[in-house]
């Protein structure tokens, strides 16, 4: 094992290539169980000194010709990277450790019970048009999502704010419907980018590290460095060029031929080949993104927990991760809290594929002859149809008869999700346990896609939300994960990793995992090596 340590050291110092390292480790007969984690850490072990300059060219999937510069209407990654990552800032930022840190805010404190929050604002922050930011701008920007008739995707999030008051030009007081210890995380949502008072959010004026020069929706965005940016240790590039490239092969080729520096969403089928290419680094982020099968717990037969347990035992998670995600992900334990979340319940036993138990629960429910229609489409998530078919085969071995109904991709979210009693769902995940639970598992919320209502869970949710003692909170969240796992109406077989790739000329610190590309902050956080 000492030799292995030596190898690791040589590799960190760049004296061994990744391949040489693997070969020698293999010769040792070492099974590198944690090798993925080791490399992920290792490639960032000693980031170079950040250096100013250069044009960062990002080729991104997730742009559309229907995009707009209004953060309230961000739907996908291209605009998330431009508005949230490059041009704008929020009151609060999520760092690579998944912690909320001040951005446009300087500090904050909560009154006991976390119902009232006082935010101190950073002074001397300038918008791209020269205006100095104060409390009015923040309030105006947040009301953009709260006002009557808003079209914002963040409306549900800010609904919990009862009142926003300006105390002085650099102090804001929020009053919430009920206590929420995670409130700063809410303000880090990508829709809640701050613009100047009176803006219609169409001119792209924000406070961020880059100023928009050209923007053609879904095609290209060209940004230059904001010379008056308030962070001196961020925004290293001179220029940012964001290109919408929806075809994964086009992105890969463009990166290979040096026409772009960064791409997102590598193709799972070919990423092992890309890893071997010289000059290209693959970045894997194990975030909160998960794929589920949701059942309506108020509709027969899914209102019977034995049916739900039978369906949960009848799915082979490892095989799904291996086949559908090609190994780029982790197995889920039928609750939506990912391993990267500090409240992840480590001690909760992992549910295994167990046809006998599945058969037992199905028999207990007396529904051996039942046919379960599972509604899927690839717009739920890539591979959802395959996942459904695979699940059908696995469940079949336990005597469960699943019928896979293929739905049209168009209108899936309006016509199938929340409407059909058993369907495939994609969740981008939320930065905190509370946000995830409150969005999709609390009683009566619009996106509770399993129509689930568990009294103990709902009680705990409110108590834990306002609890400021970390230890007590952790215990409560662990219990809630167990309740969701054993009683909930959602099968969560897998968490999918984000894969992106960049030239090795780019350097960065440890990656944030809230969104792909370092929490979409690549333009602000990364730099070119000297």
């Amino acid at each position: 094992m000492i030799y292995l340590e030596q190898l690791k050291k040589l590799f960190s110092e760049g004296k061994l290539s990744r391949r040489e390292f693997m070969e020698r480790a293999a010769m040792l007969g070492v099974v590198m169980a944690g090798s993925q984690a080791f490399f992920a850490r290792q490639s960032l072990a000693a980031p170079s000194q950040p250096k100013r300059g250069g044009r960062l060219r990002l080729g991104l999937s997730g742009g559309s010709t229907t995009d707009v510069l209004d953060p309230a209407q961000i739907t996908d990654t291209m605009m998330r990277v431009m508005l949230y990552g490059a041009m704008g800032n929020n009151l609060v930022e999520i760092d690579h450790k998944n912690t909320a840190v001040p951005e446009l805010a300087e500090s904050w404190e909560a009154t006991p019970g976390a119902k009232k929050w006082i935010f101190k604002l950073r002074k001397g922050v300038e918008f791209h048009n020269g205006k100095t930011m104060d409390a009015d701008d923040i309030i105006y920007s947040l009301n953009h999502h709260r006002a009557e008739g808003t079209k914002s995707g963040a409306k549900v999030l800010v609904d919990s704010i009862v009142a926003i008051k300006k105390d002085d030009p650099h102090t804001i007081i929020f009053e919430l419907e009920s206590g929420n210890a995670d409130f700063p995380y809410v303000l880090s949502d990508y829709h809640l980018v701050v613009g100047p008072e009176g803006t219609d959010f169409k001119d792209g004026v924000f406070t961020g590290a880059y100023v928009v020069k050209e923007f053609e929706p879904g095609v290209r965005g060209f940004l230059t460095r904001n010379p008056n940016y308030f962070k001196s240790d961020r925004g290293w590039f001179d220029e940012i060029e964001v290109l919408g490239i929806s075809d994964v092969n086009a992105r890969t080729n463009a990166l290979k031929t040096g026409q772009i520096d960064v791409m997102n969403r590598c193709e799972l089928k070919t990423v092992h080949l890309m890893k071997r290419m010289p000059g290209i680094n693959i970045m894997q982020q194990n975030g909160n993104k998960h794929y589920t099968f949701a059942m309506h717990t108020d509709v027969a037969p899914y209102n019977n927990n034995d049916v739900r347990l039978a369906l949960k035992y009848g799915i082979n998670r490892e095989q799904l991760v291996k086949t559908i995600l090609r190994g780029y992900g982790t197995v889920g334990n039928d609750h939506p809290i990912s391993m990267s979340n500090p409240y992840f319940a480590k001690d909760l036993p992992q549910r295994q594929y167990d046809p006998d138990k599945a058969r037992f629960h199905l028999k207990k429910a007396g529904l051996e002859k039942q046919e379960f229609s599972l509604h899927v489409a690839d717009s739920a998530y890539v591979g959802a149809v395959d996942a459904g078919v695979l699940y059908k085969e696995q469940a079949g071995k336990a005597g469960i008869n699943i019928k896979v109904v293929r739905e049209p991709n168009d209108g899936y979210w309006s016509n199938v999700w929340l409407k059909k009693p058993f369907c495939a769902v994609y969740w981008g995940g939320r930065p905190t346990a509370d946000m995830m639970f409150s969005t999709a598992y609390a009683k009566g919320v619009p996106w509770n896609d399993s129509h689930w209502d568990n009294q103990r869970f709902n009680e705990l949710l409110v108590i834990a939300r306002a609890e400021m003692d970390e230890k007590k909170r952790a215990t409560m969240y662990a219990e809630m994960q167990q309740i969701v796992r054993d009683d909930g109406g959602v099968i969560i077989p897998m968490f999918s990793a984000d894969l992106s790739a960049a030239t090795d000329k780019i350097d960065h610190n440890e990656l944030g995992a809230t969104w792909e590309l370092d929490g979409c902050q690549a333009p602000e956080r990364w730099w070119f090596k000297g």
Binding site: T66, K151, P217, D247, N249, D410
Partner: protein
């Protein structure tokens, strides 16, 4: 006589144009009905998973999507006949601005591809007819048929792998923009233009070959042969002018394809043309944009076919002087 000849052509053009307008009207109706029939509307498509009843309603009210379809169609039509294409539902930009530069790009790529493909196809077609049933003819046929049988994206990837990744001669993405010089643009569109050339060539080449061979069995060609003219002269000067009519028609169809059928090539090469805009607009149910681009495509077809008909008439004395 001259007057009559012109008159008949003018009458034909006028008639065809009015039919064209009628066709465009019907097409606009079909597009509208088609997009309406798709599940979901703009508000739901834009908001996706994060749609709530209130936000969807807010979108619908602002964009008049809550009005009945018939009323929306006629208010669109009313604007359209006055030359107002309307604004995009998605970003409120005037559609003329959205389409203008993209259409220019599409035409640019189509012209480059046509400049390579048409002369090449016609010359090869003539050569194939000249040396028909020889080894040369068979190789030509086989290659061009294989090219057309592969899907476009496959040809595109092969070209990229060869000329961009291996040889590094041309860029793999052709995302041209206004700041680029003409030469830089030309360099960027080489690969997409080549892909399109390979796709459309076979059709034109084989039609040229077939038309000429057809003419070659006519008595007047036999006469020319008997006079002792050499084969090249017979084919190029005697047979080809008489084969022009069908060739022109096929060329027109393929030119239209170069404008309207390039969606896949645009996606593979990230070329900012009309195709990508149309695809995005359909998936987001941005009806005015779909209408406008659909009508541009339809008008292209109608106009090119009209030009083809006129040219065939001019090239054919029998059609030129009907009895």
């Amino acid at each position: 006589m001259d007057f009559l000849k012109q008159n008949s052509i003018f009458a034909l053009v006028a008639q065809r144009l009015s039919f064209g307008l009628l066709t465009l009207f019907i097409i606009s109706l079909l597009i509208f009905i088609g997009v309406e029939a798709l599940p979901g509307d703009f508000a739901e498509a834009i908001l996706g998973q994060s749609a709530t009843a209130e936000t969807v309603e807010a979108f619908r009210q602002e964009l008049n999507l809550d009005q009945p379809p018939v009323q929306r169609y006629f208010s669109w039509l009313g604007g359209f006949v006055q030359g107002d294409l309307g604004t995009s539902l998605a970003n409120g930009r005037p559609i003329a601005d959205l389409l203008g530069w993209r259409f220019k790009n599409t035409i640019f790529l189509a012209s480059i591809a046509a400049l390579i493909a048409v002369p090449l196809a016609v010359i090869m077609g003539i050569a194939a007819a000249l040396y028909r049933n020889t080894f040369f003819d068979k190789v030509l046929s086989m290659t061009s048929l294989s090219m057309i049988s592969f899907p476009e994206f496959f040809m595109a990837y092969i070209l990229i792998a060869l000329f961009s990744v291996k040889l590094a001669w041309f860029p793999s993405i052709a995302n041209i923009n206004e700041q680029m010089s003409f030469a830089a643009k030309l360099n960027a569109v080489v690969l997409p233009a080549l892909t399109l050339t390979l796709v459309v060539m076979a059709h034109m080449m084989r039609q040229t070959r077939a038309a000429i061979i057809n003419i070659l069995s006519s008595p007047f060609i036999e006469m020319a042969n008997l006079k002792g003219l050499n084969r090249l002269r017979v084919v190029v000067l005697h047979a080809f002018p008489n084969a022009l009519s069908p060739v022109i028609n096929v060329i027109a169809l393929n030119l239209a394809y170069l404008v309207v059928g390039v969606v896949i090539v645009e996606v593979v090469f990230v070329y900012p043309g009309l195709g990508q805009l149309l695809v995005d607009s359909v998936s987001k149910r941005d009806i005015p944009v779909v209408q406008a681009s659909g009508l541009i495509f339809a008008a292209t077809y109608i106009l090119l076919n009209l030009i083809a008909d006129i040219l065939s008439i001019i090239s054919n004395p029998r059609l030129r002087n009907p009895r």
